[in-house]
Subunit: 420 residues, 2 copies
Amino acid sequence: MIALTKYAPPVQVTRLKCEICGASYPHGNLYTCSSCGDEGILDVEYDYERIASALSKSPLQDRDQNIWRYNELLPVSADIARPRLFVGWTPIYDAPRLAKYFGIKQILLKDDGRNPTNSFKDRASSVGVLKAIEFGFGEIACASTGNAASSLAGLSAATGLKSYIFVPERAPEPKVTQLLIFGATVLRVLGTYEQAFELCKAACEKYGWYNRNSGVNPFLVEGKKTAGLEIAEQLNGNLPDWVVVSVGDGCTISGIGKGLQEMKRLGFIDRVPRLLGVQAEGARPIVDAFMSGKDLAPSETKTLADSIAVGTPRNWRRAIKQIRLSSGEMIAVSDDEILEAMRTTARIGAVFGEPAGVTGVAGLKKAIESGVINRNESVLCVITGNGLKDIQSAKQAAGQALDVNPSLADLATALSNHVN
Amino acid sequence: MIALTKYAPPVQVTRLKCEICGASYPHGNLYTCSSCGDEGILDVEYDYERIASALSKSPLQDRDQNIWRYNELLPVSADIARPRLFVGWTPIYDAPRLAKYFGIKQILLKDDGRNPTNSFKDRASSVGVLKAIEFGFGEIACASTGNAASSLAGLSAATGLKSYIFVPERAPEPKVTQLLIFGATVLRVLGTYEQAFELCKAACEKYGWYNRNSGVNPFLVEGKKTAGLEIAEQLNGNLPDWVVVSVGDGCTISGIGKGLQEMKRLGFIDRVPRLLGVQAEGARPIVDAFMSGKDLAPSETKTLADSIAVGTPRNWRRAIKQIRLSSGEMIAVSDDEILEAMRTTARIGAVFGEPAGVTGVAGLKKAIESGVINRNESVLCVITGNGLKDIQSAKQAAGQALDVNPSLADLATALSNHVN
């Protein structure tokens, strides 16, 4: 049931603006543009003078190390208590051995698998649950290939919201288990991701649930933006030449791009790194649209990187806009290259990412080899999800244990037969 | 092969002292006491006057938020570069809904599943890999039910050491996959944990590998100590009445106790919280020794909490000593209680822990119900490992997804049949 909200709206938000026709809407419980329909995603615009003034009075460096340090840049009422499940400010590791292996000046890994439910999506869900509360909802729903779901379930548990999650049949079991244990009601839709998405949307309308889907909800990408804000702040003075991100729906890379642009506008950085967006060969509609300059053509999907297996990405316009704004590039990689990146990132970079989590690393390797990225450049790869989320894929990449009886003689035989 | 070390020893370490006979040894590449054998675990002692002086010149609050902020309290040469894979300073969440559910004043959850390889053991392995490097080793080994192994594999990948891991047959597949992907050579010993432990020890002697086993290695518990140091520093001024920890080998709780005692000695806190050590009913030899006052009697093990399924715990003396020093208690819980704690901690506390990771929460509930802990007291539970590490157990606790065809009518039927 929908209750009337008792919270003041976020004063720093000036309007919501349609990405296609430019129509303006005041802040409110809106999804997409009423003229342009589902494709008319609304972008949140801010009063940057007010924000600059607030940040000069309470400087960032004195604040808690989680996404709420960027309160003024997030579209959430100041009246609502932030969840105690701290999200963001994930570590950035310098990986000199990985840089040497790839033959490039510097590789930094930002490990977003270290978020509370182990993926980047916690950033978006944090904003989603607070917007639901702000608008007076007691229930929240989403359709997700997995990570948005588990993060929504976790953040709902942290805030006391009831969550309904629509997952496609192919969602990996660890992800489904993760959201069940957080108490979500899980609807496994016997169909594709797109069908799960549409059923979720219809159910939200029918039952009066808040819709967290980042493909239509204007506020979610603002949570994702915090990774861009963090990169600018954490690496201030030592910004990489490139930021590499895996791309499914297009929401993550457009959020990171927006965050970086905002930090430039606020004077924290003097340039925005070039964005490299990486899709899987088996789900590359945004790469194709980027290359052709034409509108997006939906595609079938076939890749083990389930988190970015999106045939009808909703945020392709925003993604391409942010990539072009940064003078960036796009590239696609095969599943074999993704599995190799899982191995390389873990063995040499010491970070275990899920397939979509390391797709950026696979794209980085290809971009270096093809000359898109120069060997004297520096890059930051965002690892968007923890490898424990998809053990079946990891098993394909990982190799085998050696079975031994408990004796030194047996051990010696096993080791001598083993080629590492 | 063993090379001669080129590093200066850690000046803050005064000696290693046998926990049984009190014999003193100078700092060096030692394991247990030469008189007392395997049971004579050596405790690292420090020059606290030197440490207090160093901390007054470079205060803790100005330092990086990872375990190396406590450099002077760790037994590692100052000359060795710390791994970039930042470990520790895990968040402490206030969980008021969980406290209300259990009927107690305050529950804090310290989520050590947010370490780089998703468990508490990263604290110990960080020290382990640096001691291997300090002593001139290129290879390091351990026997582990899982978490010590994956953390050693991850930290070895971060530092370029070659790792050999001995796991018992029953180690869950996600944990084995996690360490394989980090590039470890994994020996699955067709036998018990104890047989894996002994084979690892013999192999270290035969092949000249550094032995990371925290049951014999005096330095590992010092890494675990950092959780106690953090609790004191993070909650300074608002210390809980109790700190609750699951107990397998006894190393984790003795480390946390030691860290808290050190922070009291250095004047950061004025009292040490009481320790509640919790074992599984199916692996409770330390609880029995604590209750009876007698020496430990090894037992068979039968519990789904594989990380604490230790029939012959090596650190039982230190564990009991630290618990008594804090005026603490011990308790044992059933597997059903552990599964219930997995659900409760996730659904109400918003943290998804593995079985051993939430065994402390199960013990807390029992301790409240039996009056060991009063309802007007505050507690901190250390969640020692992420639930994604053992999805099979989580499935037992989590419940089921609802299968639906992609239609609102089907959805309505599924929801109306569903009792959440």
